[in-house]
Symmetry: C2
Subunit: 223 residues, 2 copies
Amino acid sequence: MWRLYQFPLCPFSRKVRLLLSEKGVGYELWRENPWEDTDEFASLNPAGRTPVLHDPEKKITLCDSRAICEYFEETVEQAPMINGTVKGRAEIRRLVALFDENFFSDVTGPLLQERMMKRLITRQPPDSRRLRDAMKMAHGHLDYIDYLIDNRPWLAGSRMSLADLAAAAQISVADYLGGIDWTGHEQTRGWYSIFKSRPSFRPLLSERMEVIQPPSHYADVDG
Amino acid sequence: MWRLYQFPLCPFSRKVRLLLSEKGVGYELWRENPWEDTDEFASLNPAGRTPVLHDPEKKITLCDSRAICEYFEETVEQAPMINGTVKGRAEIRRLVALFDENFFSDVTGPLLQERMMKRLITRQPPDSRRLRDAMKMAHGHLDYIDYLIDNRPWLAGSRMSLADLAAAAQISVADYLGGIDWTGHEQTRGWYSIFKSRPSFRPLLSERMEVIQPPSHYADVDG
């Protein structure tokens, strides 16, 4: 059985969980706080980051969320998520990178720093200016998602793909941390509310990260 | 003909150039300074980052260096760089992410900020503490590459792969900016010196970034 090393608010682990669940791959959740920087975790992943998937019987360790997704895309036929033509797959991978890198560094990363790391580790109050900046950047990203959905049924084209999972994973963490103002983003809201009702997404929405509470609309399918 | 939007010290563009050259794919260099944030470039890549590959005749635009590499891996058989078994490919992609993300954020990114951006844009002197930290982190990464080469002919296994190209691309930029102290890294030095003599690497080593000069050993194959 695969062990997924993760913590509840890791957006990259959430992307992998959505993929595994859509593909019907079973796994156990293993809690890992990468900021604790243990030797045991460093020996699994020298990059020191979650998610890591490890199968102790088969002695396979997979690191890096995009490498993990490519692995299951290559090994499990069910629910292809890097699908379509070669040009379509390039578009899916472009969007995955946009959400993993730009959305994360503009929005999810700063929110995790201010609302999770400062609360749990350094016990400092969040920097309200950084929070405002992250929420402003979130608006820009949601504008772009609105634009994509105005032009396509799903973010990368006519079928649900890893681009949708990557976006939903980042947005769900940002939303948990109170960083998403949904006003004026009806297209993205509609797309995200379909996601929230998927069986792959329900378990994620029911989990909580210790003392940090999400806003009331967070797990609400119509929220 | 493909147009590659890049600037000489972009490590991600260098990785793509090495791949295209190894695969025998022709391209023109188009200079782009992503920090100038032009509307024209934003319309090619909403992420605002280099590299971008664009073919105006075929109307194809490819963004994100990993998506670009996967595209050419899928379309050009020559010189497979995400090669081997499915487990081997996961190892290649893990290492590519390690160099693209960890090496870049620890070493190449801070060096570019201190030695290129401050020189060309803000006209400030570099922060010597950030430079020292980046060089210290570089030692740690080179230790890990030494360890890999002690155990394998190439970074990800028995064949040259995208992992080698990604590492060489980051190291070459860090070396240009004077951030690599090669003392004590004989394994990595030997591996890198083989790379430097490859036809795919020679054009990169001969280019200069405006007023910024590399150290004397930079383009020297025995350096």
